[in-house]
Amino acid sequence: MGNDVPEQGSTAGPAAEPTAGPTVTTEARLAEARRVSPSAAKALVTVGAVASLASTFLAWTWTPDFPGDLSVTGYPGGNQWITLAVSALLLVALGPAYGVPGLRWLAPRGHVRLLRGLALANLVSTWYVLLAVAIELNGIANWVSGSWVAAIATLLPAAGSFLLADDRHEPARARPLPRWLQVAVVFAAIMLAMLVTEYGITTGYTEEFIGFALAIGFAAWGLNSSGVLARLTDLTAQNRAATSVSALVAALVFVFIQNSDAYNTIADDIVIFATVALGLNIVVGLAGLLDLGYVAFLGVGAYTAALVSGAASSRFHVAYPFWAQLVLGIFVSMVAGVIIGAPTLRLRGDYLAIVTLGFGEIFRIAVNNLNGASGPDLTNGPEGIYGVPDLKLFGYDFGQQHQILGTTFGKFGNYYLLLLVAMAIVVFIFTRVNDSRLGRAWVAIREDETAAEAMGIHGYRFKLLAFGLGASLAGLAGTINAHLLNTVTPDQYNFSASAPPNSAFLLAAVVLGGMGTITGPLLGAALLYLVPYKLQFFNNKQLLLFGLALILMMRFRPEGVVPSRRRQLEFHEDQIAEAEAQQVAAAGTQGQEAGAAA
């Protein structure tokens, strides 16, 4: 960066002062400012990070009225923990900037963006709280000396990191790690991710969640553009078994480290939502069939299980064992999927979407009317089927409290364990099917149906199979959902509502998260559940915000949060194609050279 600074400085220098209007770009001004030496900029970041870390031990306001109590000196509280964590992370990220050995892996693609991301995370989340203090308590007078320290201290790293010239480069070649270390890294990363998620779920008040979300957002951007996430993804891809086991362990640890039924309820809902989203991912992400009525299959599973569960209001006075309910729920959902799919799958694209939307609504309206008055008596109409008993498996009553390893499991904790099993089954099926003759056929149909048929693929049959499989997986989740909620009513299965699961949110979870991947829909489901849940003060404007988020997402990252390789390519074709073509060419010339040498 040293050699290009003078010329940029000379062009921007004199003109910049008076007309700081639109003529002078921010870049030029940054270039001007970058005459600050890199070591000074780094020092600025360091000082700021240390100071903001220290400021979390001071009081940020004088009154405990602000949620989380920021008035204690000598101990962080509430949102100060977020600032503390991000400042600490920022100090760690200075490691690669100063070339500290053993920390360079944090920034394979350059440390400046990592610093910028974390500095912004620190700045935005801290300033958000400080402004919230000033606004909610009516006036900046509620700031105390600690607040000023925090406000100024978080500004410094942001300024410092943007004074550093961008050092983004091609990722350095990864040093091969021994197997045990790879597994350890994967495990640690997944546990950390779980802890962060756990913090997000257990945030007690809106300000804490917003501060958390802002910090996470910017930090994730920094980590992503520094290349460390890509490296982690590579590691998980190389250690599939370890990744699965770690994820399962993390999910189990989650229920042990926090154990209130309130948070377990959230976790249950997220897991159900994610499981159904994964099922939809087979239909949408692999086979490319846009299904807007998918929640109906969750409903079919739930109604089937509820009807034969021995519920008081069920028309059938039978109480089948759970496994029979499960088989029946899956089977009936599959039949429903085939019945709905058979006529509609002859359509393509938008037409299919519209027709599935219609069928989804038909399901809801039908069960609403099958009450004996306007149709045969089957589903007890709008009241639904209530009194679905809690599950009992092998003498384990899911409605009772249990002691496991010294931890008390309430109802929702019990169901959480069962739902994890269900989700593991769906993930297992998804991975296996994705990488098989079946998955290839689906992707081929998605890519070019005519060519796929010319390759011997019976397009209609395979689309129907995707539809049926997706429906059965939703039915599986539905049977458990019926017992979890103890009630099944038609209005739980809307096309769109302010809370998931509904068809619109399911599709959004798949698309936002990343089609055709496993982590994508999981992440998408967690985000789409938590954000509206935690921001309930928005009330009826949730959907508006949701729409806005979708638009922004489609504009800036159309391939989803976790892009599958294929998807990423579709949307950022030119950049990636170029890089790959170069790779191929390089490989080609190497091959030729090798050939010539031989």
Binding site: F428, I429, R432, V433, S436, R437, L438, G439, R440, A441, V443, A444, E447, D448, T450, A451, A452, E453, A454, M455, G456, I457, H458, G459, L465, L469, R565, R566, R567, L569, E570, E573, A577, E580, A581, Q583, V584, A587, G588, G591
Partner: protein
């Protein structure tokens, strides 16, 4: 040239042991007759060229053969059996094709593309994909090995891991051929395999087609490059305005004045009537 003379005898025997027998294939789109009563027979290990000016109905005829279109009248037999009118069943029966405008699965890897081509020769379904028993693993290994073998056969083995859309143009054409061959067909239909290629690539493609024949396949090629066609084919059929104008050895076709007239745009009157006479 040696190949041509060698298969001359085979071409003569083709009538008896025909791989493909198309009789009176007619395709009408409303009032437009795109293909009008075309007969074509392809013998064992024979390379047949199909030429004609733009819009002559060559690709439509291909689509009739492969079940993409159901012919208005006429019938197509493959090794004696009537061909079903569904593309996937035609592939199952043993006819594979490539497309004029490349239709690869652009976002799948090169290897995956070829493995998709193997689809109709593998039976593993949903439950064996989930269970992954020994039979499934054997079938998957077989598809993979077959795909690698074909990629090496066409000389694009080094690309197997990259995405199909990133291949150079000529290699994409080769990949289409590899994908078609993965279904172990007895007959392969190539729709303009050298479109957009430079002379060297065209020559290489010629070699590829000869090598395909050596593997025991019969080939039908649509092409505009006359040098390519005349150097390659045992027999050439000329389609003009949906009708077969001339059929015969490259020498016969090259010498026929009506072919030249058709390409230059002179109206041809009653050409179809005596086309049978010139067929050798």
């Amino acid at each position: 040239m040696t190949t041509t003379t060698e298969t001359g005898a085979q071409a003569a025997a083709a009538g008896a042991a025909g791989v493909l027998e198309a009789r009176g294939v007619t395709m009408r789109f409303g009032g437009l007759t795109a293909v009008d009563g075309v007969d074509l027979s392809v013998g064992d290990r024979e390379i047949v060229g199909l030429i004609g000016p733009n819009g002559a109905g060559k690709t439509t005829f291909f689509n009739c053969l492969t079940g993409l279109y159901v012919p208005t009248s006429g019938q197509v037999r493959y090794k004696g059996a009537l061909l079903p009118a569904k593309p996937y069943k035609v592939t199952q029966a043993g006819i594979a094709r490539t497309f004029q405008n490349i239709r690869l699965f652009a976002n799948m890897t090169v290897l995956e593309n070829v493995m998709v081509g193997r689809h109709s020769r593998v039976k593993e379904g949903l439950f064996s994909a989930i269970g992954r028993g020994p039979r499934y693993r054997a079938a998957e290994r077989d598809s993979r090995e077959n795909a690698h073998e074909l990629l090496d056969f066409l000389g694009i083995g080094r690309h197997s891991g990259s995405l199909a859309r990133n291949l150079p143009y000529g290699d994409q054409r080769k990949l289409e051929i590899a994908r078609a061959m993965a279904s172990d067909p007895g007959l392969i239909l190539l729709d303009e395999p050298t479109a957009g290629m430079n002379p060297q690539e065209t020559r290489a493609t010629q070699e590829v087609v000869f090598k395909i024949r050596e593997r025991g396949l019969a080939v039908v090629v649509i092409e505009h490059d006359m040098r390519f066609i005349f150097g390659l084919c045992d027999r050439v059929a000329v389609l003009v305005q949906g009708r077969k104008l001339v059929e015969g050895t490259p020498e016969v076709v090259r010498a026929d004045e009506r072919v030249i007239a058709a390409y230059l745009g002179t109206p041809v009157d009653g050409a179809a009537d005596d086309s049978e006479g010139t067929a050798s």
